[in-house]
């Protein structure tokens, strides 16, 4: 029955309040890849086009030149023949032995191939040869065959001579060249993309290293540095990153040492205070009433002071990373009972599930006892009513791998938006004002959080599992069945 509530509270906690939606800009890696891809595509297209044009004009020019030469030769021979034998043109043409000849002489067309008559010749071409008396060439397509039409005027006998040599083989050659060039362009583009991918990953690698280092530093390993590089472009990044890390480390260490030094210095006067107060307490009955009241105040605050200094010392140990756990195997039910017994409320009710009696955790018993004691102190200071502590396996997991220790009170509960905040140092939340404001140093829950993290567990607060008013602090620790 408690399941849905737990699930709800958890999902709410994981929902960050600042979620921003926006179009993701293209990553560096993609940009490099795109640049290389497009660049190689453009370059290979340009090269292919240039090669194609060059090859084509070369081939065509060569063919055109020889065709024109041939046609001229034939035309001059025809001129001689026509003058001596102007009537029988057909015979003259056959004697010429030319390939697809066509003659215009005294208003009539004569050829020996029906496909190549005057009708296949475009009018402009015809005009240029017959009217303007200009030798002309033009590529035309006749019945799917590409031919070169060459026309030469023969002024001496007022005739014109045409030939239609085939250039179809040039076209198939050009087609092959074309195919080869397209393939080459494709391969080049692919190579460009591959190169781009390599370049991108090389370019991003130092960034990956830097981001990993930054994460390590954020995670507390302050001595993390980037490896020195000889690359002048990266050396700037590396050295400024390392400088920043050193500065940060120095500052954190100085702060930590300061906290630690202050706490150590405070311990000596505290020792004196604690011992003196005890001596006075032994003589409390001999004191006047007003002095007794003052002494009681003193005793209570010396104890509070002592707790605060101990918490500060412990916190500074966490910051310095100098915590060493004395790990023992603990039966969790027995452990929690013992921890309650030495806390400020040894009579706190505890409910241990049957299976939890056989569950074992690995932990530092004195530090974990502090955790339980701190949660009890917190519940007494800010909660209300009787505290209840339960130990059980969540979700009836089978086989069980976790144990929950819950501390529930009957107070006002913790508002949703303060549930993360109260585990921060000295952050007591707005409700602290409404509760008894003088109690609690605000380090207790921060220490609980740190200790539980060190034991690879989690701690959080939510509404009471049974739906009544009040807060429920939940510790989750890895555990196993004995």
């Amino acid at each position: 029955m408690i399941e849905p509530q737990v699930a709800k509270a958890r999902s709410m906690r994981s929902d960050g309040p600042t979620r921003r939606w926006r179009i993701r800009p293209m990553g560096l890696r993609s940009r490099i890849l795109l640049t290389f891809g497009l660049g190689s595509l453009a370059l290979s297209l340009f090269l292919a086009l240039a090669t194609f044009n060059f090859t084509r004009s070369n081939l065509v020019d060569e063919r055109t030149g020889s065709a024109i030469d041939q046609t001229y030769t034939n035309a001059s021979r025809l001129a001689v023949d026509l003058r001596s034998n102007p009537t029988n043109i057909q015979t003259v043409l056959e004697r010429l032995g030319a390939d697809r000849p066509l003659v215009y002489f005294r208003g009539t067309w004569t050829g020996n191939d029906a496909r190549f008559s005057s009708s296949v010749i475009p009018p402009s071409f015809l005009n240029a040869v017959l009217q303007n008396r200009q030798p002309t060439t033009m590529r035309i397509e006749v019945e799917n065959e590409l031919v070169l039409a060459v026309g030469v005027p023969i002024d001496s006998v007022d005739a014109a001579y045409f030939e239609f040599p085939s250039v179809d083989d040039v076209r198939s050659t050009l087609n092959s060249v074309n195919l080869a060039l397209v393939l080459a362009a494709g391969i080049t583009t692919l190579l460009g993309i591959v190169l781009g991918a390599i370049a991108a990953s090389r370019a991003v690698r130092p960034l990956t290293a830097a981001s990993q280092a930054a994460q390590a530093i954020a995670g507390g390993r302050l001595d993390t540095r980037l490896e020195e590089t000889e690359d002048p472009d990266l050396a700037v990044l590396t050295s400024s990153f390392n400088d920043m890390a050193s500065a940060l480390q120095l500052r954190v260490e100085r702060d930590t040492r300061f906290t630690s030094d202050v706490s150590h210095e405070l311990r000596s006067p505290l020792m004196t205070l604690a011992a003196s107060v005890e001596v006075m307490q032994a003589r409390r009955d001999e004191m006047p009433e007003r002095a007794q009241v003052a002494l009681d105040l003193l005793v209570a605050d010396v104890a509070r002071f002592q707790g605060l200094v101990e918490d500060l010392l412990e916190i500074s140990r966490f910051d310095a990373g100098g915590i060493r756990l004395n790990v023992d195997e603990l039966l969790v039910g027995e452990f929690v009972r013992q921890a309650i017994a030495i806390s400020s409320a040894p009579d706190t009710r505890i409910l241990v599930a049957e299976i939890a009696e056989e569950m074992m955790i690995k932990g530092d018993r004195r530090r974990l006892a502090r955790v339980v004691a701190n949660l009890i102190d917190n519940g007494r200071a800010y909660g209300g009513g009787e505290l209840e502590i339960s130990v059980f396996v969540p979700d009836d997991e089978d086989p069980p791998s976790q144990i929950w220790i819950t501390v529930e009170d009957h107070g006002p509960g913790v508002p949703q938006d303060e549930r993360d905040l109260i585990f921060e140092r000295f952050a007591r939340g707005s409700i602290a004002g409404r509760r008894s404001g003088s109690e609690g140093a605000g380090l207790g829950l921060a220490l609980v959080d740190e200790h539980i993290k060190l034991h690879r567990g989690r701690v959080w607060v939510e509404d009471r599992l049974d739906g009544l008013d009040g807060a429920c602090f939940i510790i989750e620790l890895p555990a196993e069945r004995v």
């Binding site: 006067p269 020792m271 004196t272 604690a274 005890e278 001596v279 452990f335 030495i342």
Partner: protein, 232 residues
């Protein structure tokens, strides 16, 4: 041993901070004990020779010869119970102090009530126990509880009072495995939250005395995950 019968219990408090010393002295005197003060290790060593105490309280952080060195110096001359005061419980200091010969430790700042409880526990067990048998024999090892004597192959061994109590506890039920918790409770008077390292270091120290080869113990045997056992 010389200090079995004392009119008032004498405590030597070694602490360089004058005010702490004065306040602790006041608190301990409230318990009815006589307190001698020393501000340095050198002073303490001289004072102890002139006027042996029943319990010595040593702050590890001392100018001049430090607390560890003072522990060793006193240990060479006496089996007096030593309580040391350390800065932290989770450093090597605790183990180093115990290995230097301390019987128990407290971390600063401690409540004087806690200190007197520790001192009482040490004094209680410093008196000879009343065992069922006058003489216990484990191979070459011979324990005479009434006289507080232990002999190996006929030669008397010099055990501190805590080591002797630990050995007697194990000897009470030969072959049985004693957990660290049980030993902490019965020898040091600690509950569930006692420091298991007290047992481990004292077992180690005991072995260097009762075993012919302490690296391969024959008598005081570790039972992995359970505790310790005494055998012939």
């Amino acid at each position: 041993m010389g200090q079995d019968v004392v009119v008032g219990t004498r405590i030597l408090a070694v602490e360089d901070d004058e005010r702490i010393r004065a306040a602790v002295k006041l608190a301990l005197e409230d318990e009815g004990w006589t307190v001698d003060e020393a501000a340095s290790g050198e002073e303490a060593a001289i004072l102890f020779l002139r006027q042996p105490a029943d319990v010595v309280l040593i702050d590890i952080m001392l100018p001049g010869i430090d607390g560890f060195e003072l522990c060793r110096t006193i240990r060479r001359a006496s089996d007096v119970p030593i309580v040391m005061v350390t800065a932290r419980a989770d450093t090597h200091d605790v183990v180093a102090g115990l290995e230097a010969g301390a019987d128990d430790y407290l971390t600063k700042p401690f409540a004087p009530k806690e200190l007197s409880a520790r001192i009482r526990a040490l004094l209680r067990r410093a008196r000879p126990a009343h065992p069922a048998h006058p003489k216990l024999i484990f191979g070459d090892l011979e324990i005479i509880p009434d006289e507080g004597k232990v002999l190996r192959s006929g030669t008397e061994l010099h055990l501190t009072k805590t080591e002797f109590r630990l050995l007697c506890e194990l000897a009470q039920n030969p072959g049985r495995v004693f957990s660290r918790e049980h030993l902490l409770d019965h020898v040091w008077g600690y509950g569930y939250f006692g420091d298991g390292r007290l047992v481990d270091v004292h077992i180690r120290r005991l072995r260097t005395k009762v075993e012919s080869d302490s690296a391969n113990p024959r008598h005081v045997v570790t039972v992995r995950g359970l505790g310790y056992r005494l055998q012939a």
